[in-house]
Amino acid sequence: MSEFGINLGLAWQRPFESDFAMVRRFLIANPAQTWRQLRQALRQRVDKPGSSVDAIDILRNQHVRQQCGTSIDTKVAYRRQCPECAASLYHSPFFALPWLSLCPLHWRPLTTTCPECRQPWPSTDELPYRECALCGLPSSGQLAKRVIVFPLPSSYQLFQELEQLARREQRHGYLLGAFEGSAAWQCCEMMSPSYPAYLSSSWRPELRRWRNHVQIPSGKVFHRSDRLQPAQSLLDFVYLAENRLWLNGTQRVVLNKIIRLANVSLNHHLHIANYHHLDLAALIDGPPPCPLCMAISLWFMNCQSLPYHWTHYRDVDQYPFCLQTGVEGFYKPAPQTTLFDGDDFFGTDMKFQKWSYRRDLEQSFMLMLEICTNLFRARRELHDDSLTKTITLNRDLGMTRYFDQYFYREGDHFHLLYRERSPLARIPELLPKGLRRVCSSYREYAREHAQQFYNFHQPLMDGALSATQYGQLARSFMQYLLGTEYTRYVENINLLTNAYQYLNTTLDRNTGGLTSLTRW
């Protein structure tokens, strides 16, 4: 096939445009050819590996494409657009920023649907089939009829500022590591909802002006920071993670907080029980388990197994319903986090870490509660023939709305941004109504029908647990773990036995120590 002329639609080229805009104007500029023919022509012309978008970029005569931040997913950036910009074939990847509500060029709200055809904005694959003149591929005649005023170059100043921030973001490679757990803190990238809060600390005067113009919401964001301490490796800070007494004490503090909230706000009496027998079939056949009690049980077992060995830590979360729905373990609160950037390791001081672990425990409870609530609600949709139906159980951190912690590093300081002072405050929002009735009916059902499996059941008292009471609870949990029914999940029974013995001796010796830890 001989080479034929292809246009690039350069007349519609604007600064800081997205790949989507580039492909769209390319398709509009070559209306007589199909996308397939055009791709073939691009391959013939550009003898370099890469996508069609790269080829268009090369063909447009060394115009350097304005690269955007790595955290912006350019493939789905088309989902948010400004109708005015769409009419002039423009789109910027910065429209994908969740905190940018107005188009900086036209000051109109960014939408997810086309105002003319009321359909979601089309992807590049859908473009050739979209007949709408606003969001599809309009002809030159249609475009000529519109009153299109191209913005002045100065209007793109915010994009320029954002691009500079994106470039800065690209340069760093911070990761947060955790010792025997997961780090719930996400790097404060441009796509983070808390990014404006991060910006507020570094708003340059010219950028501050834009903040009001395009109504960037600042919201209420809490901030905590600590000086970073250089370290040789991740293991330099394990001393806290190995302090089992301290871990137990912190867990007790959070548990008491949940108990108080359940008793006072929800008038609900909590029970900790094992759910290792619960599968989807049991969910359909029997009454649903109380999401709050189930969440606190899963959470307690999850964090209580942490101080002993990572094998138990993993195996304890092996629930039949998890296996059936594809959930591979739960979020593990990390008592120790280390920031690393390439080969450089940094840690924060003890006080900061203790605070962060307690918050992490609260976050992990919220995640458990969200999973249990989703399971409770999804139960209505389950039928005998669709047991394998996938239920959205928030498999990773990014999917849950309750992880509101974002970190960033500035110089030798580690900063943490978070929206809720206590994540537990949102418990009532999550829970369905009539919980008390649900709770009692499930307990009765479990006692009758799954007696041999329902062998760990501890009602929690209305008041706060003392260190001794918590110690008793932890001891019975360990006894349960050593029980015959559960050992099939445990890989290394010897390690667990040792852990149990350690717990017994430590509890006998250091009850006072546990009490003192509650101050944290």
């Binding site: 639609g9 007349a11 007589a32 519109r146």
Partner: protein, 316 residues
Amino acid sequence: MKTAISNIYEHPLFDELKLRLDTPAMTALREALLQQLWTGATGGVVLGHARSGKTTAIEQLGPELVMRDQRPIPYHHFTVPPRDRQTINSLCRSLCISTKHRITNHSKVEPMIDSVLHHFLDQCCRAQSDRFVLFVDEGQRLSLDQCRLFTEFYDVMRNPHRVLLTVFFVVNIDEAEHLLERVKSNAYAHIYGRFFHQLIAFHGLRSEADVRYCLKQYDQLRYPQGGPTYTEAFLPNAVKRGWRLASLSADLWRVYRDYQRRYHIPSWGMQYFVAAVNVLLTDYLSKKGPKAFNDKIVHNAIQVSGLIPSLVQVAS
């Protein structure tokens, strides 16, 4: 140091497409075009007799078009092909072919128009220019209804792209009389006002001075770069002695005038002039030397050039 020519037949005098001579008419045309462009004209008509060198002039002047600030103006040279049906569709197809855009038997007019438009606009963007020039050669082959297409181009490029399209129709005066008369009617006022209001005449050589102007270039242009002049390449010894081809201008003009009077030729078309001079230089003078120059040689050269219609007629 003079650069030698490896093969004499690569010389521009043996390749009409390579030979680029400036003529007084071309200089006048350049000035007229720039005047139109710099004053924001939307178009004009370049009128000239057949074989007077209009197409060559346009090919040569196209890259030389600049704005006042010396920014180059992108252009497209389109030659209207003869078609049995003068429709917008056929014109669009021809335009697509000239811009190398792929068309099929089922291609529709609108996408073809868009393809051509975006081709023009892309060129404007690459040149960072808000002007675009379209030369429509052999414009006499167009119908006035087909000319409407250029008004559409003009409109779309103006809004929203703010690009001013200037269309110059290059027409053969002998064949365009009917077109130029009809376009003056009220029905085509929008076409007349945009494109046919300004007429630029283009002539061949019309005086001895014109002939000398062209012959001087044979004495000045060099091939290859830094090599001998065109004249020197064929008459090296004579040029060394100080002889120049321009010295023949009076004799050439005198002989041509005989033919002009006899055959009522309006001007010496560049194609015939170049052919005659090339034959004279490469075939006669190069072999016999300048001293052998006489009127008979010039007569022969002019006749070989094809200026005079063949006297041989098919017997009825």
